[in-house]
Symmetry: C2
Subunit: 532 residues, 2 copies
């Protein structure tokens, strides 16, 4: 490690300070944006102290007796909420790249001359690219949340005033709950709401399914603004967001573009290599006895994961089994399984297509969840560890099974963590990944950024073989006579390097531009500025 | 007022101290059971300060990864939860007089030699009469919650060690949320649960509908125990109580007697006088224009209120109108209105019969609510003030429209407040009451206990006429030519006294045995020991 006790200062605040080596050997700052943080101490080692955050006690005295909280514009709502320099503004990403409200918030802040805001989205998307200008002019000090695409590039190049802090979906809820991030104003874009502020995502022209990513924001923010294009008479049922937490309701012409909640990746892969990986993964799960009557799984929305879900469906059908529940990011494939009776319940964290939205609206067994129920590590348990199998992607894995999901091998921070870290607590975690992408091997001596320590990753499946983490001798025993192509991770790495060559060691600046949190709020790694 | 600055002491703690005159002229203690309280200051006058209570931050480290929180017995759960002297133990009353668990908790505490507990039920019932022996032997210091029947009699006779504190359903949630009452152990009896602690009231042999009264307990208690006789595989859907708040799950043979959730009063009255009151009430509402297409109302479960609901149904039918929502205590009459299409939604706080339970299970428009959504005065508004009409009972009303719902005219504390105070915030509050009961006039010069200041009561309907609060000139104007029997409240009182005679003035001891909270947590009145 090259960096130690470096302090980089902007304006009157050090961006970060007191860099120490953490339990996975990474150098991480413990003072970030002027606030103290704890370095990663190992899985299950950091025990929180203190009490949950308590926002100010409200009183009905200060809210309209007729329940009508509608104000004339988002600007009025933000001004009523006391928008001022240095505040933390939160948004959610259920509209994904179809979000229309986040930009408006910062347009208004810019117009009002507000500076130095912390933007705390549950995720950011390319449609929010114009936040770059607000980071350049000082309206926004920093983003704490995933920084996909152009925003991530901006951060990677060291251009953001503050340090980015990336948290998992569960970690984001945990940080709010624990009072680590105090939200001054939460803006919740909702496809349907009533004037009292009860809101949901299943009804309305811009229906996006659910609003679970905004749950913590509604519960703990000092001021909560619901923005909708569909005001219905009280009561708005279901009330995924309770109006009892809401200060203002704003009616706009259009709250989001529902067609853009569909990600380009939410289609089954057609790539022969990816299909092969999917098939091997499903066969592995079958051979290892991971699939049984009443099992549960979570697969992401990527093409490979969707394909694996299809294979799982085949295995269930063949055995006349039923999965108990499926954790989703729902889409038409998951909905088909529910409707076919292959699974009892979909426990859904975000809908990835309009079939998912429809199903959640119509089917009581398609259940809205939130990071509180599913992922909060500072709860009395959460759902993630109840899963039998989770299927995840990764940008890189190393020979110690450490995995990276946020940076590319060129050092650029281009992805958020999402629920990725949280779901690693499933009973078996499998990463089906290609051996190389763009002729760059995916298995490395060392990942650029550690998002998960190797002990959390059980199985790597590639198109050329399966590597099982030696910690999972039980799995090795179960499949050793299965005829599946079992290899060591070093063998897989060597195969890739034989084809692509040994990748050059990446040179990055010493300067830290962002940090990655573990699910317990500790800092597992730093992201460094790229050298162009 | 005879009492001022009296201190009564038990053991090492004064039961109460610093008695002052509050805004309705009643003498109330401001130190109760060693804790400070605020005297009632007038409607909307007390503004809370501070932050919501934060229970200790938990961590998944301390909970089983497989989500199985089942322990072998309630005793084990209570011991694991650290049951000890002086703790606050909460229970809910969704089983009403069919509760089987509350007694067991205190049987165990007694067996373990635990002393000085505060029992914080959402309501108590005659089936819990044996708590008297635990109050006598010091296991229980006091009940804070409604004290119906024998428990109320015990308190009225000055036999409880601590001072009783009665709160409305909303006030109970507010006290928990604000940290006024810190619950050490919440025990939630649930008709169905999974091993993770997700629980509901709609399924299982002992289905009681919903568990909303236990919501705040689950959110804020340090330790939460779910007791059920029906453990289903994860996930228990719906999850009215989130397992993420739950520490232990206990399986018992029988969790409650569902047939006893049906109160004897949940049948339409057959009394000619009561039917007349109901008819006059409905006619008044119609004449005053309170009923319209899209209106909303709440009526209790008493025979008169149910009959009024029937009349409302007739008015809706006649006009081809539909109510937008009905707040309930649901029962077969409300369910019939929903199923007939006379109302869009039932917003239900507790199911009063098994038709209510069935409807809540089957009909997405029969919605479970909680004191948080409906009644919490320290929220950002609540549902109570959105109602057009609320129909309530009272034990006494005085010539200033002050009303009493907890004590009888003989001074005995025999009823809880329930949601009564909370619902007074409806646009129009009507008390249909008989002019006398057991030859005792209901309208008095002064009520024994003020549960609501007169400004909250709009209309009194009796079998001999209607009195409208002079503050509601708008209502007086609307019905003055309706032909309805309008009288002053003094006229009604005189009519009753002409029949029954002027009641003797009640003599009570100076000693305070319980206090009544207003919805904002301030103390509106004291209950005094009866002189036998």
């Amino acid at each position: 490690m090259k960096v130690d006790h470096v302090s980089v200062k902007t304006e009157n605040m050090k961006k970060y300070d007191k860099v120490v080596k953490n339990a996975v050997g990474r150098m991480v700052p413990t003072i970030i944006n002027g606030e103290e943080h704890v370095p990663f101490m190992g899985i299950g080692k950091y025990r929180p102290t203190g009490r949950k955050y308590g926002p100010k006690i409200a009183s009905c005295i200060d809210y309209p007796e007729d329940g009508n909280k509608v104000v004339s514009s988002l600007k009025e709502a933000l001004m009523n909420a006391g928008l001022k320099d240095g505040m933390t503004i939160s948004t959610h990403h259920h509209f994904r790249n179809g979000d229309l409200i986040s930009n408006q918030i910062f347009d208004i802040a810019h117009e009002l001359g507000i500076k130095n805001l912390r933007w705390y989205p549950s995720a950011s998307f390319p449609c929010q690219e114009r936040m770059i200008s607000y980071m350049e002019d000082g309206t926004i000090n920093r983003i704490e949340g995933s920084m996909n695409g152009p925003l991530g590039k901006f951060v990677s190049e060291g251009k953001m005033a503050g340090i980015g802090i990336l948290r998992s979906h569960g970690g984001r809820y945990q940080a709010i709950q624990d009072g680590e991030v105090k939200i001054d104003i939460a803006v919740i874009a909702a496809p349907t709401a009533d004037a009292f502020g009860n809101a949901n995502g299943v009804n309305g022209d811009a229906a996006c399914g659910l609003l679970g990513f905004a749950l913590g924001d509604s519960q703990y923010a000092e001021k909560v603004i619901v923005v909708t294009d569909n005001v219905v008479p009280f009561p708005c049922i279901p009330w995924q967001i309770h109006g009892n937490y809401v200060d203002y309701v704003v009616k706009v012409d259009q709250v989001g573009l529902p067609e853009k909640i569909v990600s380009g990746t939410t289609m089954i892969t057609k790539s022969p290599d990816r299909l092969l990986i999917a098939e091997i993964t499903a066969k592995f799960c079958e051979a290892a006895g991971l699939i049984y009557d009443g099992f549960s799984y979570q697969a992401g929305a990527g093409g490979t994961a969707l394909s694996i879900g299809n294979y799982f469906g085949d295995i269930l059908r063949k055995n006349n089994w039923k999965a108990r529940f499926l954790r989703a990011g729902s889409n038409k494939y998951a909905v088909e399984m529910l409707e076919e009776g292959l699974v009892d319940y979909i426990l859904d964290g975000q809908t990835f297509d309009l079939d998912g939205v429809r199903s959640m609206r119509e089917n009581a067994n398609h259940v809205a969840t939130s990071p509180f129920t599913s992922y909060n590590y500072h709860g009395k348990g959460n759902f993630a560890s109840l899963l039998d199998v989770v299927i995840l992607g990764a940008t890189e894995v190393d020979v110690n099974y450490n995995a990276n999901v946020v940076t590319h091998s060129d050092g650029y921070l281009l992805h958020g963590i999402g629920g990725w870290q949280n779901t690693l607590f499933a009973k078996t975690t499998i990463l089906p990944i290609p051996l190389f992408r763009d002729r760059l091997p995916v298995i490395r001596d060392e990942v650029t950024t550690i998002c998960a320590p190797g002990e959390m990753i059980d199985v790597i499946v590639t198109e050329r073989g399966i590597a099982i983490n030696p910690l999972r001798q039980d799995l090795i025993d179960k499949v050793k006579n299965s005829g599946l192509p079992l290899k060591t991770i070093e063998e897989l790495k060597a195969e890739a390097e034989a084809i692509c060559g040994v990748p050059e060691k990446l040179e990055l600046s010493d300067e830290i531009v962002a940090v990655i949190k573990w699910v317990d709020g500790t800092i597992i790694d730093s992201v460094r500025k790229v050298i162009k």
